[in-house]
């Protein structure tokens, strides 16, 4: 039995300890916002927060989450950063197919919670683990800055 909180709600789960959190969320609890992309911590589609820290849920066994608090896309609007990001994502129409965007928002929320005014270098660092195959990166970058109340201009060398 594993006890934990997901999006503020307590759960006691009778599931194999080595089952990745990703599949617990998607197939056991019906929380489909978290996506599967690679299964080997290379794409970031499955990013969730465990106690506020972004992790790749595809390689995180359920046992690791014992006693923790998990936040997924479905619960991220409860954080101020998540809410700000979701608003900008809708206004700026950041997504193309949208499949990666759950992971992008979770990674960006973690960034803004830790660093409310990220530079372009900070964004590169925090977001490089999250692949967007449709390549919406310019909008993701601008979106993070807008959500942080910063100018969306890209200040990198050009």
């Amino acid at each position: 039995m594993i006890s934990l909180k997901i999006n503020g709600k307590p759960y006691t789960l009778d599931l194999p300890e080595d089952m990745p959190v990703l599949w617990v969320l998607r197939d056991e609890l019906g929380l489909t916002g978290t996506k599967f992309g690679c299964g080997i911590a290379q794409c970031g589609a499955c990013t969730v927060h465990i106690d506020g820290v972004p992790v790749r849920s595809c390689v995180t066994p359920l046992s690791v989450a014992e006693g923790t608090e998990i936040t997924t896309l479905e619960g991220v609007s409860e954080t101020a950063a998540g809410q700000a990001l979701l608003k900008v994502w809708a206004e700026d129409d950041v997504m193309q197919c949208g499949y990666c965007q759950s992971g992008q928002i979770m990674a960006a929320t973690a960034l803004l919670m830790e660093n409310p005014a990220p530079t372009d270098a900070d964004i590169d660092m925090a977001m490089d683990g999250n692949i967007c195959r449709c390549a919406t990166y310019t909008r993701i970058r601008a979106g993070i800055k807008r959500a942080a109340g910063l100018s969306p201009a890209d200040t990198r060398e050009a």
């Binding site: 056991e28 489909t32 994502w89 809708a90 949208g98 590169d124 195959r133």
Partner: protein
């Protein structure tokens, strides 16, 4: 406006909606249109309360078509975009025409039919209003779905008029008056995707999220070598694993696009099926793949390039001109096989029996899927239903429906509904790869320094001597159009590797080949590469040559000239001085009816690592940009995607792909992304699609910039960084 391509004839029919509304159907024949409205498979429905529902008929793969096509209908209806609810249409190509996301075709084939449908509804509502308000149609005005009669001050909203309108004769769509584009209120405005809010809430709208009652989960393990046969495996051991309910072998049908030999593992949960699959040990007969190696292919290509190949296109006497030329520029270019890697792994949910098949699939070509299912599994087409889900990326991979056949076949045999989900490793191993190709190029320069002849001999891949899917070496419209003596020859390497269409098929490889070689020609002539292109264009225009050289597509040098001139200004080309390992490169390309010219600014570090700092793109895709949000997103995505292709490579050993997951195939990431400046020229041409045409020119633009920065000419992809390293 010039004439717009119509994919098919258009008939409309109407019916009264339950509760007193108007329903407008569409069809290729009058009968089909009636059936469409009678069956509620309508395009447009207006309820008595004024709610407007528009069906989106094409698969949404991130290109924004579920938003842009209904925007076109709503525009001509004179309603506000906020009044519209968009729902996905059922798959029925008899009623809706082609329901496909491929080839950037949705806009060019649907733009005018959608406008006419919207205008026809508006006219019917106006006619109903004329009766209700006792005023002639000409005296009425529509604002946001409300019909006003100024003189009397009376008004009626569309909902009140819908029922009466539904009793009227439907106008001939060919005769309805369309709006003057300068009066557009929706087309040309930036609108968010109609399903974006659902995506942001994590709602289960992607294929992978599908859940139906009684569903089990499945994986399907195929041989790593395409076409290999099942010999034996530890199936009994797998059956005993936790959660596994069934394990069985399916035999292939011999159809490349259809069912292959493989082992299906059905389990209560996908994780159980996947874990069981990790322990599956199968002996395959892999003889079919023997000798199909990247290295062997290269040796074969060398041999073939020594021969003459088959002529694909020829004008003038290129060989003679080359033999007598003052100067000959020649080079060999090579591009590798590369994968698709849409982020949502292939999946499909099926409820299938011997008599019926019902499918939920993220597919780019649901109609092709129905036909393939019918053929492979012997179920009549009218007993097959396919539901389109949102698609987590297409890139051409989902024009193939192999996963659909597998899911249906597994469900049939297992006797339960199943959701098939591939792992990323499956997705890479079972891709229909963008095929590689090699080219020997020659250009003759005459004694006055003019490009006199151009020849290309390309080696591509195929079966039975014919290029396989996505392996065509189509002529390069620009070069074949500007040179008097031109010859294109082709040789084909027989391959077992499945090939397919990757975003901007053929062009994604050929733009690199021909536009880099054109850069070489410009440098051989000691000319600025952008100015040289304009010289070639101007010479064409001055010659009065018809603006449609040989080749499948019409080609217009006036359009190339305008985008090139605009690009020169926007990119600051003339004032730029290469320095410090930083260079600019330019390229143009015409594909999928769209014209693009791009300049890339690239920085190469002393150790040979390179980064694209900025890309300027100027495109001409016709007279309007329907949804700027989607349009800029497509251009930026195409450019970043194209840069990524410069780094990717799939190699083969005995018919098996060597690379297995994302750690071995670099995909573009945030820090690799350049700044992008996109500009559209609104020309006097019908609007065309944007999923693809911005991609091809960025590859040569970047490689030409690398040459400008380092003097090293990239002729082989992926780019080998060690070649760019220079002593510091």
């Amino acid at each position: 406006m010039t004439e717009v391509m119509m994919s098919r004839r258009l008939f409309l029919s109407s019916a009264t909606l339950a509760g007193g509304g108007l329903l407008l159907g569409f069809g290729a024949t009058a009968k089909e249109a009636q059936a469409a409205s009678a069956n509620m498979t309508q395009y447009v429905a207006i309820s008595s309360t004024g709610k407007v529902t528009i069906r989106a008929k094409n698969p949404e793969i991130g290109q924004g078509i579920k938003t842009s096509l209904p925007m076109i209908v709503a525009e001509e209806m004179d309603i506000d975009w906020t009044q519209v609810e968009v729902v996905t249409a059922p798959v029925n190509e008899k009623l809706y025409g082609g329901q496909i996301a491929g080839g950037s075709t949705s806009i060019p084939t649907n733009y005018e039919p959608m406008r006419r449908a919207g205008a026809a509804v508006r006219l019917m509502l106006l006619q109903a209003a004329a009766v209700k308000l006792s005023a002639p149609v000409e005296a009425l005005q529509v604002i946001s779905g409300v019909v006003h009669h100024k003189a009397s001050g009376k008004q009626a909203h569309y909902g009140e008029l819908a029922q009466a309108a539904s009793k009227l004769t439907v106008p001939d769509p060919a005769s309805v008056t369309l709006k003057d584009p300068k009066d557009f209120k929706i087309i040309g405005t930036a609108q968010g995707g109609v399903d974006s809010a659902k995506v942001l809430k994590g709602e289960p709208i992607f294929g992978i999220d599908t859940a139906i009652p009684g569903m089990k989960h499945a994986i399907f393990r195929k041989p790593p070598v395409f076409g290999a046969k099942f010999l034996s495996g530890n199936l009994d051991a797998i059956r005993a694993l936790p959660g596994v309910t069934q394990v069985f072998v399916l035999k292939g049908t011999g159809n490349i696009q259809g069912l292959q030999d493989g082992v299906a593992i059905v389990a209560d949960k996908w994780w159980q099926a996947k874990t069981a699959g990790d322990q599956l040990e199968v002996q395959w007969d892999e003889a079919i793949g023997k000798g199909h190696d990247t290295e062997t292919y290269r040796t074969q290509a060398d041999t073939l390039l020594k021969g003459t190949g088959d002529s694909l296109q020829s004008k003038g006497t290129a060989a003679d001109v080359l033999a007598n030329a003052a100067t000959v520029v020649s080079a060999r270019y090579e591009v590798p096989f590369i994968p698709h890697l849409a982020l949502e792994p292939q999946n499909c949910t099926a409820r299938a029996s011997a008599e019926h098949i019902e499918i939920w699939a993220p597919t780019q070509a649901p109609g092709w899927g129905i036909r393939l299912l019918a053929k492979e599994l012997n179920v009549p087409e009218d007993k097959i239903t396919v539901h389109m889900t949102r698609v987590g990326g297409g890139f051409g991979r989902r024009l193939e429906n192999d996963y659909m056949i597998e899911a249906a076949a597994i469900s049939q045999k297992a006797g339960v509904p199943i959701k098939l989900l591939w792992t990323r490793e499956d997705d890479l191993a079972y891709d229909f790869f963008r095929p590689g190709n090699l080219h020997d190029l020659k250009a003759a320069i005459d004694d006055q320094g003019r490009l006199a002849a151009y020849t290309a001999h390309g080696v591509t891949y195929g079966r039975d001597g014919k290029p396989s899917a996505g392996a065509n070496i189509s002529p390069h419209a620009f070069t074949s159009g500007v040179v008097e003596h031109f010859e294109l020859r082709q040789s084909v390497i027989e391959t077992t590797i499945p090939t397919g269409y990757l975003r901007a098929p053929s062009s994604n490889a050929l733009a690199f080949v021909h536009e880099c070689f054109l850069d070489e020609i410009a440098h051989a002539l000691k000319k600025d590469p952008l100015t040289y292109r304009l010289e070639l264009v101007n010479a064409q225009l001055a010659s009065g040559a018809p603006q449609s050289p040989e080749g499948r597509n019409p080609y217009d040098f006036r359009r190339i000239k305008e985008i090139l001139e605009t690009l020169r200004t926007r990119s600051g080309w003339a004032d730029f001085k290469a320095s410090d390992g930083i260079g600019l490169g330019v390229a143009t390309y015409f594909s999928h009816r769209g014209y693009f010219a791009e300049v890339a600014k690239v920085k190469v570090a002393p150790d040979g690592t390179w980064r694209v700092l900025k890309v300027w793109a100027v495109g001409d895709v016709g007279s309007v940009i329907i949804n700027p949000f989607g349009a800029y997103n497509q251009v930026e995505g195409s450019i970043i995607d194209g840069i990524g292709q410069l780094k990717q490579c799939i190699t083969f050993e005995n018919g098996r792909a060597v690379q297995t997951n994302l750690h071995e195939v670099p995909l573009m990431r945030m820090s690799d992304t350049p700044k992008i400046d996109t500009h559209f020229i609104l020309s006097d041409n019908p609007p065309t699609g944007l999923g693809e045409p911005a991609l091809p020119p960025v590859l040569p633009a970047v490689c030409n910039a690398i040459f400008a920065a380092t003097g090293v000419r990239i002729r082989t992809l992926p780019i080998e960084e060690s070649l760019l390293a220079r002593p510091s």
